[in-house]
Structure formats: C-alpha cells, structure tokens
Amino acid sequence: MADASLLRDSRLDALGRLAAPLGRFAALLTIALALFAAVLVLFGRNPLRAYADIFSSTLGSAYGVSETLVKMTPLILTALAAAVPSRIWLINVGGEGQLFVGALCATWAAIHLDGLPSFLLLTIMAALGFLGGGLWAAIAGGLRAGGWVSETISTLLMNYVAILLVNFLVFGPWKDPDGVNYPQTVEFAAGAILPMLGGTRVHLGLVFALVATIVCAFLLARTRWGLEVRAIGGNAEAARRNGIPIERYVLVTMLIGGGLAGLAGMAEVSAIQGRLRPSLSPGYGYSGFLISWMAGGHPAGIVAAAFVLAVITAGGDILQMTQALPGSVVNILMAVVLFVVLARQAGRP
C-alpha cells in the first residue's frame, strides 16, 4: 500500500516536473501570439484567421505535417551545430557557412562520382558534407584554440566566405552548361538524391537529424568524453589542471558542430534542391543558433523548438494566400516568440 502511494507520488512528481516547463512554455507562446496579433490588428488584418490558417496549413493535414518535418530537418542539425560547442562555452554563429560548405562538398561528390551505386554515393556525399562543414568550423576552432581570434568573430566572418565560395563555383566552373547560363550546377542524378518517404518531401535527412540528436545526447550524458566536456564547461581552469586537453576539445566540438551543419547542407542540396544554387538556405544556420539558444542547448528541447519555428516558417506563405500579407511577415511572429522567450529567461549568458 505504502509502496503504491509512493509510486503514485513519484509519478505525479515526474508529471509535475514535466508539466511545469511545458506550462511555462505555453504561457510564453500565448504572450507571443497575442503580441503578434496586436501587430496584425494594427495593419487591419484578422489575427484569429491568420492563426487558424497557419496551424491548419501546417498541422491540419498529413501534407502540412510532412512539410513541417521537412523544415525541421535542417533546423535541428544547425541547432545541434551551435549546441555541441556551446557545452564548453564556444559560440558557433557559423552554422550558415558550415551548411554551405557541407553542401558544396556533397555537390562535388554528386557531380564527379555519379556513376557509383546510390547507396555508396549518398554515403560519400554525407561523409564529405560532414567533413567539409566540420573542417570549416575547425578552422575557427583552431584560431580559437591557438588564442588568435574568438570563434564568435571568425565563424561569423567565415559565413560570408563560404557563401561567396559557393557563388563563385555556381557562377563559374560548376555552372550547368545546358542551363541557359543560370547560376546553378547540373541536376543531380537520381542516385545522388536522398530517399524520400512515399509521396512527400520528408527525406532521410530527418533520420540523420534525429539520430544525431540522440547520439549527441548520449555522447554528452553517458560517455567519458561527455564527462570531460561537462568538466570543461563547468570550470575550464580546473579541468586544465586535471590534465584535460582543452584545445583538443575546442577543435573536436567545433568539428562535430560544423559537421552537423554540413550534413544539413548535404541533405538540403540532395533532397530538396537536387542541385547546388546560391539560394540554398534562407538562413537556416542563424535560425539554428536561435533554436539552440531557446532550448538551452538540450537535445530534446532543440527538437521541440525546431518544431515551433518550423510551423511558423512553413505556415508563412499561407498568410500571403489568405490575408495578402508579405510572406516575410512570419519573421515578425518568429521574432516575437524569440523575444518573449529571451526576455523571460533573463540572465542566461
């Protein structure tokens, strides 16, 4: 009897622990939605209808859900790209550039190795995407580890270099010779396209993203490596005195983070675009940084936050169809949600 009630209490307790942050999150979301509604009213639109449109178009049908998952995929990966280095207080704002370099490396394989069997080709593309993004980030990691340049600054600057590099290639040497001189590479062969879930655009990249989330969570929580990361994150000086090679951890966390962003780039270019072009990403790297921040770098939270932002951005074009609002208006909704969360979680570094 006593045992049973204890069990029930602890269950209640667990429920309560889960409910409290959820309730808080719901409250914040409500405030954000109310603020955005005020903006819409100010511009003479009906906010209730706008919300109904956003939610019904993204969550009200199987198709809507599938498109939300499509949007979530790169967001989860770029969020992890910021989250992993953040465990030792590294600030990686370079997800965007790492995504572009990952896509670039994967594209090289797709163009040059197109005779390979699909499975092998996709594996190489994913590996190159990961490696490309990872090494790109590791440059910033190296500059930081050597004490030359802060990784915040270098990752930010290297975003531009990466995007310009992709531009240089698609405007020049990699331009599709049969594509009316348009700045894009040739279309990938069928073997270089990630498999998709029957009839939708949900692709294997989503599995990459979820597996990466679980692996990161496991690595950080359950391995010796994760223990040392936590030690550095807790007190870098003490960790150094205990003989943990901090420089190596700086390089490795940046490599992993950048690699995940690179993987996002590979998945986008292979499954969604089917060729490399300059309009590869509408700022996934930056959104990912924000998601990681919202979730405090926690893997499960990242998936949840990516879901919220995916609903908002995927629902954006509906507002144009039904309310004649510019599509980028959803950026306001996204910003309002973020501002409310930011203002609420005061004092977090």
Binding site: W148, Y160, F168, Y286, P326
Partner: protein
C-alpha cells in the same frame, strides 16, 4: 584613366557611406560591451520608415529624421531585452534582424514602386570644379559629406568626453564603472539608442539617396558587413572610415572592372574584405585583443 579614378573614388564613397554609418553604430555598441547582430534589421526599418515618410511629406530631410528616430526606437527593443532582461546578445541580435526584415516588409509593401524626390545632391562651390577629385568628392548628398565629421565626432565623443569615458568604462568593466558611480544600464540604453539612430540613417542613405526606392530586404547583408567592419577596424572610429571605404571600394571596383571588360571574379573580390578582417585579427592577435572591449557580450548584471 581619369574617368576611372573619378568613378572608382566616387563609387567607393557612395557604397561606403551606408556601411560607415552602420559600422559606427555597431562600434559604439560594442565599445559599451554590447554586440548587436540585428543591425541589418535596424537598417531596414530605417530605410522603409525614411522612404514612407518621404513619400508622405515630400521631403527627404523629414524622411531622414524619421528614419533616425525609427532606428533608435527599434533598437530600444533590443536594449530592453539585452539590458533590462539580460538576454543573450547574439540571440537577441539575430532575433532583432528577423523582426526588422518582417516589419519593414509589412510596412513597405504598399510603397514598392513609389516615387520620391531623394536627398538632393549638393555641389560644393569651387571645389566641385577641380579636375578628377572635384566631381568625385564634392558632388554628393549631405550624408556623404557628413560621414567624415560623424566618424571624427564618434572618435571625439568616445575618447575626449566624459560620456565617452563612461561608455568605454562600461564596456571594459561594468562593475568598476558602477562602483565609480555610473549606471551601466543607463549608459547602455543611451548608446543603443544612438546606435539605432545611426543604423536607421545608414538604411535611409540607401533608400533615400543611393537607390531612391524601397525594396524588400534592400540592405542585402550590409548590416552584417558592418559587424565585420568593426572587427576590421579594431573598434576604432577613424579606422572604420578606412574600412568602410575599402569595403565600398571592393563593391565599386568589381563593377568598374566589369564595365571596362577586365576579367575578375566578383565573388573572389567580395571575399577579400572578410578574409582580410580575419587576417588582421589573427596577425595582430595580441594587439587586437587589447582593442576588444573586455566585457563585450556581457552586460552589467548588478552587484550581487
């Protein structure tokens, strides 16, 4: 040769001017210890409000004032989140950018394709008649002429006034500044408002003087370039002048070279400023570290 030099010089100056105002905005904030990645959004809000005000009043000067005010007020949203709510600056800045993109698109949707009388070009008497240099340097709008004085003024304010001293003190060590009787939060609010004004003016220069149109996301990344430029100039207003001219020059040079038929990849050339900034930091590593405001990225959290 003479037309080329004239054109290159004039093009660099015109392309560099919005960059300079934006850079000074970022530089002031960072000197006070606040990184603002949202400058792009501030510029867009300035550009669109300036344009709308000009459409309605018929006066670009009124538009400019409105743009500065709008930029300042918009940046106060960022100030509130970062200073009063002590939120993460990078995240808040990116959020501000997204907000500015959306807000400017919403406000400006009805004004795409509207016609305005832009900021007038002023000829400096006599000087404008000098060969080569005259037309390149002395036939511009008022914001171009104001650029050098504003940069010098920023230097003077930062390094020669009491207020500038407190800005730098807050940027270096807010706790000590607080102990010395300054309120770091008040200073942050003042600096961020001023930075917003400069950012708004930077945007308005694009929409009112350079292009004389409004288009969605017309800043095309210049707000981010400004963040890079602050690093390039190692947090010094006068070096920012050189940096803005160099970045503006890179844009202008590649367009010039094309018009002359010189083969040169615009993308590799565009890359140069960023690589240079990185190199500057890496090479001058030791010295650059001294130039970085010590408390950059953190705001005063009270004296608990």
């Amino acid at each position: 040769m003479a037309p080329l030099i004239r054109s290159l010089l004039s093009g660099s100056i015109v392309s560099g001017t919005p960059l300079l105002y934006a850079t000074l905005a970022e530089l002031l904030s960072e000197r006070a210890g606040v990184v603002n990645l949202g400058l792009e959004g501030v510029m867009l809000v300035g550009a669109v409000v300036g344009f709308i005000a000009t459409v309605h009043t018929g006066s670009a000067t009124a538009g400019l004032v409105a743009a500065g005010l709008a930029g300042g007020l918009f940046n106060l949203v960022f100030a509130f989140v970062v200073v009063s709510r002590r939120a993460n600056q990078l995240a808040a800045g990116l959020t501000l950018m997204f907000c500015g993109v959306g807000l400017s698109a919403l406000m400006g949707a009805r004004y795409v394709g509207s016609q305005i009388v832009g900021l007038p070009e002023l000829r400096v008497p006599l000087l404008a008649d000098l060969p080569i240099l005259g037309p390149a340097l002395f036939v511009h709008d008022a914001l171009v002429y104001a650029a050098v004085p504003v940069a010098a003024g920023a230097w003077w304010v930062l390094f020669r006034t009491r207020w500038g001293l407190s800005v730098r003190a807050v940027g270096e060590n807010p706790v000590a500044a607080f102990a010395a009787g300054k309120d770091p939060r008040m200073v942050h609010y003042q600096v961020l408002f001023l930075a917003g004004v400069l950012g708004g003016v930077a945007g308005a220069h694009l929409s009112l003087a350079v292009a004389r149109t409004w288009a969605e996301w017309m800043t095309a990344g210049r707000g981010f370039i400004a963040v890079a430029l602050v690093i390039f100039s190692r947090w010094h207003p006068l070096r920012a002048l050189a940096g803005a001219l160099l970045f503006g020059g890179a844009i202008s040079l590649q367009l010039q070279m094309q018009a002359l038929g010189v083969p040169l990849s615009p993308f590799l050339l565009d890359m140069l400023p960023y690589v240079l900034s990185l190199a500057v930091l890496a090479v001058w590593g030791g010295r650059a570290r001294h130039a970085v405001p010590a408390s950059l990225g953190r705001v005063f959290q009270g004296t608990q």
